[in-house]
Symmetry: C4
């Protein structure tokens, strides 16, 4: 890219926060997006071809959702412990920068609380049958919206690149929230909407992890110049690359899941494979109508 | 939170308006949101299980809606009387701040007038059967939109916290209006949308009541510094807490209403309870399909 | 309102354009909104009660739509003639203000051209049956959007009130366009959406006519001070009043149309009235279910 | 228009990029929009009248879509080759303007990559029957959104006209993306939505081609003054004219396609024409109901 000249800052300014606090949540979001895409693809393939439905029974799916809820709660509790450790250890001080750090920490705590509520509602909706299942998608969109709102209200940074990378995360959180809200309104499973949400969640994770590398570089020699406005344009290119990558990842995932299901089926009913191919051709001609 | 240092302002500036004019409408909105959530939960439970439908007959619901309309009109008339008392007693003056106060008062009057129109339309739609019922939801969204529009056009305050708290109210009014408009477009009762609207209305009430405590503090010692931009970030945390709280409140409300209905039923048909449990299990297995 | 002090400007600045060029299009839009609301109410009542359908046959409606299209084209042609008269008579000049006037005139011409296209499409869709009828609603929303876009791109005025009144018109055009677009997406006649569009069109007409009175006052004594920012807040109150008024007007219109239909029916079939009352009661009890 | 005085700049500033790099993609988009409108009209007419369906069989349509995908990929590869030629030949330099050029080139490359992905998905969805077809519309809206995002993040130009013409392209890309996304949500073929998307794509192409003529004029005598804010208002008029033109073009296209189909039919079944006319009259009376 030959843009390295633009990225090297002679003296790297002090930015509050640390690399791990951005990279780990980023990886969590990428994993979540990947898991959601796998779940959606599995459900889609099994719904499309009735023969596979023995692989994914309602009981299996219900248990998977409850496990997902528990996983979210556990991850959130670990992250919150980290935040509280930070909050307690940093002494209150009249210094303005310190105060801003504390505010940011509390804003993160609220984001985690709302995410934990998503986990709780997920568990409740799949154990108590009288609750409406659409509550989960609404809560999901809410947790993304609350995140976007609180990142928007972060104490403002004066460095243009710092401000820009947070805007990207806010933007992806907003888009993921909107996607989840539209899913809630559609009120029926739509595999493409679910994959869109997965891709936006992965994108958000990538942006969040990227913050860790840009704002808190290990190698000060190749650190980004946080005050160069051209670096925001370079980051927008990265953003486009990440987004295109999420589609490639989901595509590869689709192929892998399809292979896995066919392999599983061939072990159980080897004779079904031929039937399957006929079925697909039939579908093909129907689809073309 | 240890942020008390940031909140204490050495000299509290004069802000137009009074605490009661914000706290009382705030409490009204919280009550309205709570009542809406109760109504929606009642309808949802009774619709889900036909056995309960004798509790909520169409006549009962229709009367409840008319009473709600009357209650809204009465509250609005009381509030408008207060506004007019203020308008008449404040002498017209060339002083710029006085003029701004008068403008704000008239803007509030219009908000109340449109809210009263909601009450009138509610009564009309439930007494004249030929009117379309969806008119109520449209009028509801309109009254929130008009509120957001007029708060947006309030004479601008120079104090950053004053401006921010009004922005929060505007934001929640806009969201509640959008939610009501989507409900109107969906054109069928959706319990989760109704609960979302309830939660946003309660949130708006909380923000409005909060203005009363922040801008017109009783205890000048712990008054907020209205010019400190960090206080807006602290308020965004409170906003997140309020929003999470509305969900907890609605959850508790759901449990209470469920218990109430079961208790009522046990008094009327004690033998039905066993039947009910079987019914629930049946629902469960159907839902899991 | 006692705000007259705020409105009197000692020396009224020269604003390009004239009062008639704003008041006449404003009245046209109010008339259009009124006609649309009448048409919608008529269709709604006749659809609700099959007995009335002899009053509004498809042929009658189709002819009414074609007449509406012709009326729109005629009005637009008259308005465009006025614009071209202005364009031709004003000599090209290097004076900047003159140029801005010419630009505004041409922007108005494009708005009129797109409005004329709406008329043409209306006529085509109701004479050629193979064209999709939803094209009309799309074109309607387009003509409002193009209007909003071109008003947004008017050469900027430095006077705060001049800029604000144009923003109000832009805002209402945008809302009316959005409403028409949602109607197009819903793809079925929804009386409340149609009335909403009518009310927003009337509101836009009122705002447009208001510009004529505010920017080009006849009585210079009571002219508005175009540089006083408080006047924009006062105008927002007027905006709220106009909006509430459109609802009252539509309500009165509903009552008048209902009476007219019943009177018409009583002349044709006097004996039907009793039947009608029974029918209404029946509807009532069904609706309450 | 007599506005030539406003457009002549005494000394034309150097703007990065060249005319061909804007005119050729612009023409490609206009062609794409034109092809989409033709395809939609063909499908609409053949769906409306079952008799024509032998003209457009599912196999024919499927092959046309695959060809479209291949054409998009080929065009994108050619355009990307041009971009890479530019990237490689321009030496890296510490000069700020050079860096900005490189950034713009890479942003264009990402836009092309996402467009190529649209072509790939089109081919995949029409060859592998188990993939959901709605993926194409989603990818289409994504490619427009990514384009709008990357144009929004172009290194900012200081010249007001340069910035404005790019805003117009961003605006149309956003609108086309939104239209495609709504089409995806509707999840069924709607001819008017498809024509709307075609018209917006043509509009975007016209705006893009226009950039080539405005920023890189051949005839320096009549070059636009890139710093005159009035020129943006003149461009908004052109924008309106282009939009109205796309509707005229689509209208003419509709007439041509209709004639072509009738002529084709008259050659195959001359006796059907009379039948057709009867059929149309029948449709007419049904439609009027």
């Amino acid at each position: 890219m030959n843009g390295s000249g633009a990225r090297i800052g002679p003296s790297h300014p002090k930015v509050s926060g640390d690399a791990e606090g951005h990279i780990l949540p980023g990886l969590f979001l990428v994993t979540l997006g990947l898991w959601w895409s796998t779940k959606s693809i599995l459900k889609y393939i099994c719904k499309q071809q009735k023969r596979f439905s023995f692989l994914i029974t309602p009981q299996f799916l219900s248990r998977a959702e409850i496990l997902e809820g528990i996983a979210i709660i556990v991850v959130v509790l670990v992250a919150m412990t980290g935040q509280f450790y930070w909050i307690v250890n940093v002494k209150p001080s009249p210094h303005k920068e310190m105060q801003e750090d504390q505010i940011r920490n509390w804003q993160h705590v609220i984001i985690y609380v709302v995410l934990a509520m998503l986990g709780v509602i997920k568990i409740l909706c799949f154990t108590i049958s009288s609750l409406p299942v659409s509550l989960i998608t609404l809560m999901l969109s809410n947790s993304f919206f609350v995140e976007a709102f609180l990142i928007h209200n972060h104490p403002k940074s004066l460095m243009v690149v710092d401000s820009y990378v947070h805007q990207l995360v806010k933007f992806t959180a907003l888009l993921a929230g909107l996607t989840a809200f539209i899913e809630f309104l559609l009120a029926k499973n739509n595999v493409v909407m679910e994959l869109l949400r997965s891709s936006l969640t992965m994108l958000q994770g990538a942006c969040l992890a990227q913050i860790g590398f840009i704002l808190y570089p290990k190698d000060m020699e190749h650190a980004w110049d946080l005050n160069d406005v051209n670096n925001t344009a370079i980051l927008s290119i990265y953003f486009g690359v990440y987004y295109a990558s999420t589609y490639v990842i989901i595509g590869v995932n689709y192929v892998l899941v399809s292979w896995f299901i066919k392999w599983k089926l061939s072990k159980v009913y080897p004779s079904e494979i031929q039937f399957l191919k006929n079925y697909e051709q039939q579908e093909d001609s129907e689809d073309g109508m």
